[in-house]
């Protein structure tokens, strides 16, 4: 689904990005992350994902192969990496992913993405 406000060159405010819309603290809205996961749209521009699918994450997320930011177009990665972040974000590319909802006993309380065919 198209959001009218997509990533534009030079835009670095989180609320310009689809899944971050209305999120005051720079963290994407959980509801919109779920929507990106299931409706298979890009977290940055809100348009249908392509092939391959890109995820950005910290080195810890890359090591665990579990990402918290929504899936992205290859071309939308830079808009997300330009957001103010405490640590630099690495990009991984995959053909597919599993969407894992948090369980009550999980150390990680957030829904996460597990790429299943890294490229």
């Amino acid at each position: 689904m198209v959001a009218r406000r997509g990533p534009q060159p030079g835009v670095t405010t989180a609320s310009a990005l689809f899944a971050w819309e209305g999120a005051p603290d720079g963290v994407p809205s959980r509801r919109l992350v779920t929507r990106c996961a299931l409706a298979r749209v890009c977290g940055a521009c809100g348009r249908p994902l392509g092939h391959p699918i890109a995820f950005v994450g910290t080195s810890d997320e890359v090591a665990r192969n579990a990402f918290h930011l929504p899936p992205l177009h290859d071309g939308c990665v830079d808009a997300v990496r330009a957001l103010p972040a405490p640590v630099p974000l690495t990009v991984v590319r995959t053909a597919g992913f599993e969407f894992v909802r948090p369980g009550s006993g999980d150390a990680d309380p957030l829904p996460r993405f597990v790429p299943n065919s890294l490229l």
């Binding site: 689904m1 959001a3 999120a23 929507r35 409706a39 597919g96 909802r101 369980g103 006993g105 299943n116």
Partner: protein
């Protein structure tokens, strides 16, 4: 009402719910680990078979055109049936499952949720929103899940009765025969439009997309292929109408049997708050119904006879649902949870009974499914959803498609 108050699993302790969650996680992980070449070969085989069926149907009609009536008519009829079956296979086992992302792991750019466009009136992009997200995330949640009656039928007692509901048997027949066009309009959210909650710009964009896709479908079936059969174009149009009708009625039947038999419960949006993965699994089991049948029936219904397994694991490859179904069922028995299933005719019989009963006000009929709660109406929840998904961002003086609040 919290999800733990739903009567069907009141008897479970928190530890039980978590144990069920762990067992289902293990099932999922097992299939994910063993997914590979055999599964890829399966979907490629189904796609190949489907394309041969469609191609031989189109060619059959062209070849039949110059023949004598005696040979032409049976060949046209066989072609129409072959085309109808090809459309069914494409929509149910291929398109629906590919668009869930079930086959993305194969890394085949053609058989991928991002690129698949299916042989029906609804644009893939809108299907992935209305079905993958709205229906699968808010399964049977009153006011959220637009699949409850498709905005046309009164399928829940919590929906207010109006005299217009007296026409339900007629609307139902129309919905079945025109199903692809009903689905095509589905993501527009007619209810939100009626209440002035739809972003007009987004509505125009979606309408343009539907018109483009619809025109493509109509030109293909009713202009291009008929033209290829020359003077027999009228007969080709008739055959293509028959094929589309076959697919429409079948898709309607299978989809209605997934959530409207008596055992499938409705929920309220309170039950979504802070839902854990295990509770999400339970809501999917309780809101969904299977039907029984042989391998061919399951193939032609896109393995949606395993609707419970599909709702538990919507992105797990469909050819493996049959393998895990006995284990899901055993798990439900162990924890005394309803696992709603039955032969297709019985499940649809219950659907029909609900459609006919709900033509009348509630006081005139008896409820066949466990009640959702005292005084619950679908309208009060629709209001919440409108606020949620069609929120007006006054600070920008514009509409927004996305919710500002985080509720998922």
């Amino acid at each position: 009402m919290a999800i733990s108050d739903v009567q069907e699993y009141c008897h479970l302790t928190e530890a039980d719910v978590e144990a069920i969650g762990r067992e289902l996680d293990a099932l999922r992980e097992r299939v994910e680990r063993s997914r590979g070449a055999k599964d890829a070969a399966y979907i490629r085989r189904v796609i190949r078979a489907q394309r041969w069926m469609a191609a031989s149907a189109r060619i059959g009609m062209i070849v039949a055109a110059p023949l004598d009536k005696r040979y032409r008519r049976p060949l046209q009829a066989a072609s129409a049936v072959s085309l109808g079956l090809a459309k069914i296979l494409e929509n149910m086992e291929i398109g629906h499952n590919v668009m869930h992302g079930q086959w993305d792991w194969m890394n085949d750019p053609e058989i991928h949720s991002s690129t698949w466009e299916w042989d029906t009136g609804q644009p893939a992009e809108q299907w992935k929103h209305s079905h993958n997200y709205i229906h699968h995330q808010f399964t049977n949640v009153l006011g959220y899940d637009n699949d409850i009656g498709y905005g046309v039928l009164r399928m829940a007692r919590e929906q207010r009765w109006t005299p217009a509901n007296l026409g339900q048997p007629v609307y139902n027949a129309l919905l079945a025969t025109l199903f692809q066009w009903g689905v095509a309009l589905h993501d527009l959210d007619l209810d939100a439009i009626r209440h002035g909650k739809k972003d007009p710009e987004e509505m125009r964009r979606q309408l343009a997309q539907i018109v483009r896709k619809g025109r493509h479908q109509l030109v293909k079936d009713y202009v291009l292929y008929p033209a290829l059969t020359g003077p027999r174009w009228k007969e080709t149009i008739r055959a293509n109408v028959a094929a589309n009708l076959m697919r429409n009625v079948w898709a309607y039947l299978i989809i209605f049997c997934g959530h409207f038999p008596d055992g499938a419960l409705h929920f309220t949006e309170d039950e979504l708050e802070d839902e854990t993965r295990a509770e999400w699994y339970l809501r999917q089991i309780l809101g969904t119904a299977n039907f029984e049948g042989g391998p061919l029936l399951h193939l032609m219904s896109g393995n949606l006879g395993y609707q419970i397994e599909h709702h538990l694991f919507p992105d797990l490859v469909s050819n493996r649902y049959a393998e895990i179904a006995p284990e899901v069922r055993a798990l439900c028995e162990k924890y005394e949870l309803p696992y709603t299933t039955g032969p297709l005719h019985r499940q649809y019989g219950q659907v029909l009974r609900t459609i006919h009963k709900l033509t009348l006000p509630n006081r005139m009929t008896k409820d066949d499914r466990p009640p959702t709660g005292e005084g619950v109406t679908i309208e009060q929840h629709q209001r919440v959803r409108h606020e949620d998904t069609h929120q007006r961002r006054t600070e920008l003086g514009a509409w927004s498609r996305a919710a500002g609040r985080s509720r998922a």
